[in-house]
Symmetry: C2
Subunit: 359 residues, 2 copies
C-alpha cells in the first residue's frame, strides 16, 4: 500500500472531523444541567462540554464548602494515599540516563491533616523538593474519604438516567496545587469532573487524534524516595500490574504505550501558529499532526463541571484557590458503552495510524 496515500487519508480524517465539528477547538457551555435526553445527545456526539450550576445542591460546594479547614475537621488523622514526585509529574514519560521511562509516582500514606498542611505550605514554595498530590483514583470518595462522601451526591441524576446506570463506577477526590500536572492520557470512562476550589486546566485531544499525541512504547518504572530525593527504578519485567485498567496499552511485559507530547508545550506556541486552519497546516510543520488533531485548552473553574467524553486524551494542570491555597475537585466515572461502532473504529484508527506513521 502506498504510504503517501494512507497518510493523506489520515489527514483527510482529521480535516473532515474538524470541518464537521466547527470550530474544532470550541467547547460548549451549558448554563444549566441538561435533561437526560439533552445529555445523551451530547454524549453520542462524543464532544466535551462545560456545565454550569450543576453543583448548586452539593453541600461540598455550598453549605459545607470544602475548605481545607472543613476537610481537616472531617478527615482528621485518617490515613490517605498520596502521590509523591520530584516535579509533580505522576504517570508521565521521563528521560532518565538516556532512556525514556513511563514513571509512576512514589506513593505513601499520610494522616490527612498532615498531608493538607504540607501541601498548603508548598503552594508558596517555588520549587518544593517533593510535590504531593492526593489522586488515588480508586473511587477514593467511597473508601479513604468516606466521611466526605455525604457532601456530594452518590450519582448525578441526569447522567445516571442518560447512561441507564444507577451509580457511577467510581467517585474520586483530587487535592493538589499548581505544582502537579496529570500527563496526557485517556480513560475508558465517561467522566463528569466538578471543580470545588481553584481551577483545573484541561488540554484535550479527541480519540481520532491519536496520531497527534505521538504514542510511544516505553519501559515502565516507579519513583523511589531516597535520602537525597527521588530515584527512578525500572519495574521488574515480570510485573504486569503497572497497567491501570484500560490506560495505556501493554505490548510486552513491563512496557507501556503512552502519549509522548506535552500539550502545555504545544499551547506555548504563539496563538497565530495554533489557530491556522487544519487545511493550511504545512506538511513540514514539526507540530503538523498535533495541529491537525485540533487540541482544546479549557479552564474549568470552581462551580463548573466538565463532561469529558470517554477515550478523549486529557492532560490536566491546576491553579489553587487564592485564599485556600489548594485545588479540590471531584469526578464521577461512568462505564462507557462499548457496543455500537465507536470503540472498534477508534481502535482501527489507532492501528492504521501506527502502520501509516511507522517508518
Amino acid at each position: 500500500m502506498d504510504k503517501g496515500k494512507a497518510s493523506k487519508a489520515l489527514r483527510a480524517l482529521l480535516e473532515s472531523y474538524a470541518s464537521l465539528n466547527h470550530p474544532p477547538t470550541y467547547i460548549e457551555y451549558l448554563d444549566d444541567p441538561p435533561t437526560p435526553l439533552e445529555f445523551h445527545q451530547i454524549v453520542s456526539r462524543n464532544r466535551p462540554v462545560i456545565i454550569r450550576n450543576a453543583m448548586n445542591d452539593w453541600p461540598a460546594y455550598t453549605t459545607n464548602k470544602w475548605t481545607p479547614g472543613y476537610l481537616s475537621s472531617k478527615m482528621g488523622e485518617m490515613e490517605v494515599m498520596v502521590a509523591e514526585t520530584p516535579k509533580g509529574n505522576a504517570d508521565s514519560i521521563v528521560l532518565h540516563e538516556g532512556t525514556k521511562y513511563f514513571v509512576q509516582p512514589h506513593t505513601a500514606s499520610h494522616p490527612f491533616s498532615t498531608f493538607l498542611t504540607t501541601l498548603k505550605s508548598s503552594t508558596s514554595n517555588p520549587s518544593p523538593s517533593t510535590v504531593l498530590y492526593a489522586q488515588s483514583q480508586d473511587s477514593n470518595l467511597t473508601s479513604e474519604y468516606l466521611p466526605l462522601s455525604e457532601d456530594i451526591p452518590e450519582t448525578i441524576p441526569w447522567a445516571s438516567i442518560s447512561f441507564s446506570q444507577p451509580f457511577p463506577d467510581a467517585t474520586n477526590i483530587w487535592i493538589g496545587n499548581h505544582h502537579s500536572v496529570s500527563s496526557l492520557h485517556k480513560d475508558p470512562y465517561q467522566n463528569l469532573y466538578g471543580v470545588i476550589l481553584g481551577t483545573k486546566v484541561f488540554y484535550l485531544v479527541s480519540p481520532l487524534g491519536v496520531v497527534g499525541v505521538k504514542e510511544r512504547k516505553v519501559r515502565s518504572a516507579t519513583y523511589v524516595k531516597t535520602g537525597e530525593g527521588f530515584d527512578i527504578v525500572p519495574d521488574p519485567v515480570s510485573s504486569s500490574s503497572i497497567n491501570k485498567e484500560g490506560e495505556g496499552e501493554e505490548g510486552e511485559e513491563g512496557m507501556i504505550t503512552w502519549p509522548s507530547i506535552s500539550l502545555d508545550e504545544y499551547f506555548s506556541l504563539p496563538e497565530s501558529e495554533r489557530s491556522i486552519p487544519v487545511e493550511d497546516v504545512p506538511d513540514t510543520d514539526p507540530w503538523k499532526w498535533t495541529k491537525l488533531s485540533t487540541p482544546i485548552k479549557v479552564e474549568v473553574k470552581a462551580g463548573e463541571m466538565l463532561y469529558l467524553p470517554a477515550l478523549w486524551y486529557h492532560q490536566v494542570a491546576q491553579t489553587v484557590d487564592e485564599v485556600e491555597e489548594v485545588c479540590v475537585a471531584v469526578n464521577y466515572w461512568y462505564d462507557m458503552d462499548f457496543s455500537g461502532p465507536f470503540v472498534s473504529m477508534v481502535n482501527y484508527v489507532r492501528d492504521m495510524t501506527e502502520l501509516t506513521m511507522s517508518s
Copy 2:
C-alpha cells in the same frame, strides 16, 4: 505500508465490531415505541431495531386501513410517477453488452388507479414484461400522494423529540409487489420504515462493512422503454444529475460507485456456511469479507416499524399481502447528525478499505 498488515487491521475492525455487538446478526425487537431517551440510546449505537405497536394510532394502519380499494378511492385518477423495469431492478448494477452499468429505472406517470390495477394483476403473473414500483422517493406523501397524508402522522413524536427535529425531511409511500427489489445501497438519513400491507425483507450491512459490499465504480445508465421491452442507454457524460443526494458517490462525470453484491445470493448460502463465527472465516473463502461484515436478514411484517440507522447498507425485497396482492409501506427520513466523529470515521474506513483492497 505492508498490505498484509492493513488487511489484518481491517479484519480486526470487523471482528471487534462483531464481538462488541454480539451476536452481530441479531436484531432487537421492542414491544412498544421507545421513549425519546430510549430511542436516542438506540440511535447512538447505530444498530437497527424493530418496533412493534408504533402504528396503532395511524388511520392508515387501523381505521382506514390502506387497502388497494381505499387507496384508489382516495387517489382516483391522480397522476403518480412509477418506476418501470424489466426485472424489478431499479437503481442496480446490470451487465449489458459486456459492460457493467448502474441502471436507473424508466419512469412514467400513470393515473393512480390504472397503476394499482396493473400492479395487482401482475402479482400472479410469474414473469410480467414490465415490473411496476411506486417508489418516487421525493417525499411523495406530501406531494403526489397528498390525499393519503392525512392517514399518517406528520412526524413520529418520540423520533422528533429524540432528533430535535419537529418534522422529518421526507415521508415516502412505497407500493409494489414481490417482483421488485431495491438493490443494496445506503442513505445519509435516519430511517423509520413502517409496513402497512405485506412484508418487507431487509438485508442489512453496517457502515463498517463497506469491504463486504464490494463497491465498484461503474458507468451510469437508464432503462428506456422500446417497442419490444427495455433498452439500456448510458447517461450522457455531461449529466451529473444521476446521483441522488448522498447515494453512491460520483468520482467522474457519469460514473457512480455502488455495491456490487447481492445479499439475496449471500443468504442463499447454506445456514451452516453463514453462521460461522467471524474469527473462523477462512482467508480463502470467496465470501470472506461479506461474512466478516455479518449481514443481517430481517422480515418487517405489517404493523412493524424498522429503525434503519443512517449509512447502513440495505437491500429490500417484498412479499405481498395475500388478500390484497400488494405491499404498501411508509417511511420517514430524518436528517442525520453529521457532527461528532462517526461520519469522518466511516469515510476513513471507506478510504482505507479502498487502499487496502486495491491491487
